[in-house]
């Protein structure tokens, strides 16, 4: 526990030296977070290796607390990305958000504090600690999003985030209160059997789902996520998308672990929400032009995949099918780790691209693979992983969830897994389409603007974290047995099984290595054979079917690449397209503009809230802003209360 406390202190104080240092504050912060990460990872490694969960009782509250902080296997498993990502992000920030930014010091301090709250949250073993860390994380993250608060778009994103995170916290207060009223302690002890089936149990479940779902970005509660991720600096987006939204999943896992007998509809609802979130997340991602908004929608998709795993695991728990239970939870937990790694990597890569080109618009890029080879390689690795393609880590976790679904179909006689199966297949194909578009349009072909043509490779401080994350993604993908034992222990704890889940017997992780190693060897040999027969580059242009003087603008754009799919899904996406038909010979200049607004925020929430605001404008009469009037209100209230008490 000393290691854990050390990690907490180092991370929390990482921004402090930078307050006084004239230069090098970023490096100091990166070193401190890196050291903290090492000590915290050691603690997590001990717990996942089978040591007894250490507890820390700082104070004995009247609630009868025996452990204020307790690092159990589930918490330790979540702690790994919570430490790895900030270590990489703070190193990235040295090159990305240097001291020339006026907000650099403030941002570093807040970044450390946010990470410390995240670390605290993984080990919170009591309702009060949990909610305190939850609120601390939410508020510091709001301040991080507001780093560039001179921009009205950023301010809007920040306020939307703040409002939605507090709504979520209110739901959690209600859920914890209801649970306490039903006799559950504030100590996250197991819930009495039978409670889950009562109306109160359902209410608690739905409130938890809303509260944690708002944080995780489950469709349709995802609306705060795309603007906030797009507006924040890239290393902050990487932290938010990689780790912060996973805390919603941590909450769900914690809550589900306490219930011994979840009703069947819980698992079914989780599977359905996962399918909706996954498919709509990737569908909206496909229609985006803004690199960081696109990545944010992919976070919604991946949260959907995680929910599919959780749902299958819960179905297994309800139907008493331990194989389904173990595989579902293992897949979900591993996808939490994997998504943190590759989405963190992708956001850092996006940051590097934005840093070099000064734009987030996909249509203004192109050809960056030649000027930024390292960023391109790392981004390709991340794209590969997020599409779930072997031999990267995304495949391993999706494979476990698929395996759970197939097990459920073939042996558990449940109908819900087929929904998970079809949804996963659809999500996989759409994600591959989306990342082929992103990688192709940003990094390949010819530069579309002069900014893209003049882009330069990122400095080493930014390249190294990307390469580290890409390396971890590849390592887990090729050698999944490395994470097997730790995953089994965490999944066993999350699923409520008596011991570690028997992953070795259920899923042949070694067999995947036996396939991917020959794959890599074959690819290497073929590559060498191909290179040998290649002529030196003659500098010829691409075959353009005989057109003379083709410009970079005739290349397929991101919009045209996704057009067929977006048109096919127009009933869901409702794209807004403005263009004028090209008529006659030698037409004059024409423009084409398409945009896909967010269905919840732009189509439902904003109009409804605008309407409500106009309706409530009547109340402005009372808000005159004059102090005497407010004193009068207080007086009237006091008198009214007095009358009420006497009467």
């Amino acid at each position: 526990m000393i290691l854990f406390a050390l990690a907490l202190l180092l991370v929390a104080g990482s921004g402090v030296p930078g307050l006084w240092l004239r230069t090098g504050g970023g490096k100091a912060a990166a070193w401190l977070i890196g050291l903290g990460a090492l000590s915290g990872l050691a603690a997590a490694g001990m717990v996942l290796g089978g040591a007894a969960p250490p507890t820390l009782a700082l104070l004995h509250t009247p609630l009868g607390t025996q452990g204020f902080l307790r690092l159990d296997p589930v918490g330790a498993f979540f702690l790994v990305p919570v430490l790895v990502l900030p270590a990489c992000g703070s190193a990235f920030a040295v090159g990305y958000w240097g001291d020339q930014h006026e907000s650099a010091r403030r941002l570093r301090l807040l970044y450390g504090i946010t990470c410390a709250f995240l670390v605290l949250l993984t080990a919170a073993a009591q309702a009060l600690t949990f909610l305190l860390a939850w609120e601390g994380m939410a508020i510091t993250a709001f301040l991080l999003v507001m780093a560039e608060d001179r921009d009205p778009e950023t301010r809007r994103a920040g306020w939307i985030y703040l409002a939605s995170t507090h709504t979520g916290t209110l739901c959690l207060f209600a859920a914890f209160g209801l649970a306490a009223g039903a006799g559950a302690s504030f100590l996250f002890g197991p819930v009495a059997p039978g409670l889950a089936a009562t109306p109160r149990g359902s209410a608690i479940f739905m409130l938890c789902l809303a509260g944690f779902g708002l944080k995780a970005g489950v469709f349709p509660l995802h609306y705060w996520l795309p603007p906030a991720h797009a507006a924040a600096p890239s290393h902050v987006s990487s932290l938010m998308s990689g780790v912060l939204i996973k805390m919603g999943i941590l909450g769900m896992v914690r809550a589900l672990a306490l219930v011994p007998d979840p009703p069947l509809w819980w698992g079914a609802l989780l599977v359905a929400l996962g399918a909706v979130s996954g498919i709509l997340g990737v569908a909206f991602a496909l229609a985006q032009h803004d690199l960081k908004r696109l990545l944010a929608y992919h976070s919604i998709e991946n949260i959907g995949i995680i929910l599919l795993g959780l749902g299958l695991g819960t179905l297994g728990k309800s139907t008493g099918h331990p194989v389904l239970q173990a595989l579902g939870f293992a897949g979900a937990l591993l996808h939490v780790l994997n998504h943190s790694l590759f989405k963190g990597l992708l956001f850092l890569g996006a940051g590097s691209v934005v840093h070099a080109t000064g734009s987030r618009d996909l249509e203004r890029m192109g050809g960056l693979a030649r000027s930024m080879p390292v960023t391109a390689g790392a981004f390709l690795a991340g794209s590969w992983a997020i599409c779930g393609l072997p031999p990267f880590n995304g495949f391993i976790s999706e494979w476990l969830i698929y395996l759970a679904a197939f097990q459920g179909l073939a042996f558990a006689h449940s109908h819900w897994p087929v929904l998970a199966l079809a949804a996963l297949a659809l999500i996989g194909a759409l994600a591959a389409a989306c990342f082929a578009k992103v990688f192709g349009v940003v990094f390949l072909g010819e530069p579309r603007t002069s900014a893209a043509a003049g882009a330069a490779e990122a400095p080493r401080a930014m390249r190294t974290p990307m390469l580290v994350l890409a390396g971890i993604c590849a390592a887990i993908g090729v050698l999944p047995v490395l994470v097997g034992p730790a995953l089994a222990r965490a999944a066993g704890a999350a699923a409520g099984l008596p011991g570690p889940a028997d992953l070795g017997g259920l899923a042949h992780l070694g067999a995947l290595t036996a396939v991917t190693l020959p794959l890599l060897a074959a690819a290497g040999l073929i590559w060498a054979w191909t290179r040998k027969g290649a002529a030196p580059r003659a500098g010829l242009p691409t075959w353009d079917c005989g057109y003379a003087a083709a410009s970079a603008r005739i290349q397929y754009t991101a919009s045209s690449f996704a057009d067929e799919l977006v048109t096919a899904m127009r009933f869901v996406l409702w794209p807004q397209v403005r263009w004028r038909r090209v008529l006659g010979l030698f037409p004059s200049q024409r423009s084409y503009r398409s945009h896909v607004p967010d269905p919840v925020l732009d189509r439902v929430a904003a109009p409804c809230l605008g309407f409500a605001e106009r309706g409530l404008a009547v109340l402005h009469f009372f808000q005159s802003g004059q102090l005497p009037l407010y004193l009068l209100y207080i007086l009237i209230t006091l008198v009214a209360l007095l009358v009420w008490m006497v009467a």
Binding site: L403, F406, A410, A429, L519, T530, A538, P541, T542, Y556
Partner: protein, 308 residues
Amino acid sequence: MTDSTLVRSLHYLLHVLTALLLPPLIPGLINRVKALMAGRQGPPVLQLYYDLAKLARKQAVFSRTTTWVFLAGPVAIVAVSMVAALLVPFGHSPAPINFQGDMILLAYLFGLARFATVVSALDTGSSFEGMGAAREVTFSVLTEPALFLGFAALAKATGSISLSGMLASPGFAISRATGPLILVLAGWMIVFLTENSRIPVDDPNTHLELTMIHEVMVLDHSGRPFALVLYGASMKLMVLGALIVGPLLPRTSHPWMDWAGFYAAMGLLAVVVGLVESATARFRMNRVPQFLVAGLLATAFAFFLLQA
């Protein structure tokens, strides 16, 4: 015991040799059938072998727009097909590598090859190749769920979640679950034609870049990379073909007879593809999704029939 080990390794050796050497024969057979149907002599059945030998000796030319990503497509398709061929049972003998969940790996390996091919097409910066790439990913969105729903139906019917169990299972004959099996195979036939860019989805012999899917993506490949593209495509044709013929093959009394049956069935599949190509025209591009949805519906119905 040593005897059975020897026999098994002989089977595996035959499996590997079949996977490596046989594929270029199949497009040759298809073309011969098409030529005969059209009343022509047609190229020799071994034409693709000659083409590959010739391309391997030719120098490759690279556009100045391309990067190392350009080679990823050709390399990936051959490497993936080699490994995928080890996962699929040819006929009734189990595949050299089989484990629970290998069908998921198979589908994702081909997903990997598709991703690499698409990215390599986009690397040229050509709008034609971008167009082909966009079509390829669009159609894969419908074929992928069809493939998986077929796996789901077979898993349900055979109680096995490995390819060797689903396709080469001893207990699985046509007599059991006939209706669903026919539907799965019909759906997969559509997937097979689409994934291998055959008529009626894509025409490998058309002369207009605007109307192609797969061929337009590899316009800029030449020399050894192009040889890899052709070889990889023929391997994919055989591996996906083995998925379809596997459940149909009657089980014979002797394992070596099973091999003969498998070769005959692959030949028959080539003839069927040739007949389909001779009898139908390519669909208009906006009609293709309807065709693919039909495949998806077939596999979904197969699954629901098994539920009932």
